[in-house]
Point group: C2
Chain length 228, copies 2
């Protein structure tokens, strides 16, 4: 189980980036588990859970709906994943390292301009992908909720800040690299593109098309600072 920590202004949250159950301890032959074998694939179950959470949000998803979507009875879900919160965290982990991995990957582009272009344009396709719910799980799953869901709400907030901070850091690097003007405000730029991203997520969940969002992204890119 690989995980790392980061600080939000208020609290510390565990963020699972990759999880493996029973990491084999340097043994070549799998030691064959003792009891009755699992009747389902954990990753497939998590992907099914992710899809429900993605379209209905954390609070809007009931365990009853999850049992139906995963094709697993409730006690098996609880045995495998702990509880609803933990299941959500595991599904969120798969989201970040799976369909949403392009966000972190965009920072690897050569210049700040290419980073934001790659990020926003891929986000447009991502948000309007017919095979997945519209919009971003991290934006939509718990923007508002009852007190009982505030832990998840806070965790999603922390994720948003985390990704934004990652872009800010990347733009600082761009200033050092000389592909952003020295007077550019890295944090401000990061907040700007995060805002565009989040707004496009809301737009996508409201029915905006790929072409419409491309128009938005294109307009947003017009105000990107250049040296030339």
């Amino acid at each position: 189980m690989v995980q790392y920590y980061f600080l939000s202004v208020i609290n510390t949250y565990k963020i699972m980036v990759s999880t493996e159950k029973n990491a084999t301890p340097s043994a070549k032959t799998a030691p064959k588990p003792r009891g009755r074998p699992l009747a389902f694939n954990q990753d497939e179950a998590l992907d099914a859970a992710l899809n429900v959470f993605w379209s209905r949000g954390y609070e809007g998803t009931s365990m009853a709906e999850l049992t139906e979507a995963l094709g697993i009875n409730k006690p098996s879900i609880y045995a495998a994943f702990g509880n609803k919160e933990e299941l959500f965290r595991r599904a969120l982990g798969r989201y970040v390292t799976g369909p949403a991995a392009f966000v972190a990957a965009a920072k690897k582009q050569a210049t700040a301009r290419q980073v934001v272009e790659s990020f926003l344009l891929q986000a447009v396709d991502f948000f309007t992908n017919k095979d997945t719910p519209n919009g971003c799980l991290i934006v939509q799953a718990a923007l508002t909720c009852g007190q009982s869901s505030s832990a998840i709400q806070q965790e999603l907030m922390a994720y948003r800040k985390h990704f934004e901070a990652g872009f800010a850091q990347r733009f600082e690097q761009a200033k050092a690299d000389g592909d952003l003007p020295q007077q550019a405000d890295a944090k401000k730029l990061a907040k700007y593109i995060a805002t565009i991203h989040q707004g496009m997520s809301v737009q996508a969940s409201t029915g905006a098309t790929r072409e419409e969002l491309l128009g938005v992204a294109e307009m947003a890119l017009k105000s990107w600072p250049t040296n030339f």
Copy 2:
């Protein structure tokens, strides 16, 4: 009871813009209601409900929480407002004509440029007002939810489209007035500023400050088309 209708792509929704209970039928002296008088002020109760829905969302708000916030027992709430959905609609009506009235008002500015400046800058103050929940009710209250709340979800979607369409119309007018270039795409511009607005709402609910959002609005305005 004054109300008007507008069409979304999918359905027709009633949108209450102003409501008066028992509009006095041209009588100068109030005819004094018959039974036991109401022990609470309806508008104050609606404002209290609005505040709870605003911070917790539609699904995240329970009737128990509402009874406490309004200081009214459940049967009185149901007698006065029908049910949770209707109560939300009434609170939403007060939101649109009250704290969020600046949105529609911004369209009265003389030029398209002034419209968007007025809109975005006022939105920043609105989103970060210490006396009200952060962000926009219409964006946050039901972005995702269970099936039982989908009517409210759809209605908020319709509101978003409605406001965006209003700005598009205003920008068409601006083209006719000559303060926007003829080649400007009014719908695209409207979707752009709606996206900024919605993104800033998410940012505000994630903790962004007034100054940070002003920076975002300022950047967003840089890509606004001009004739000069």
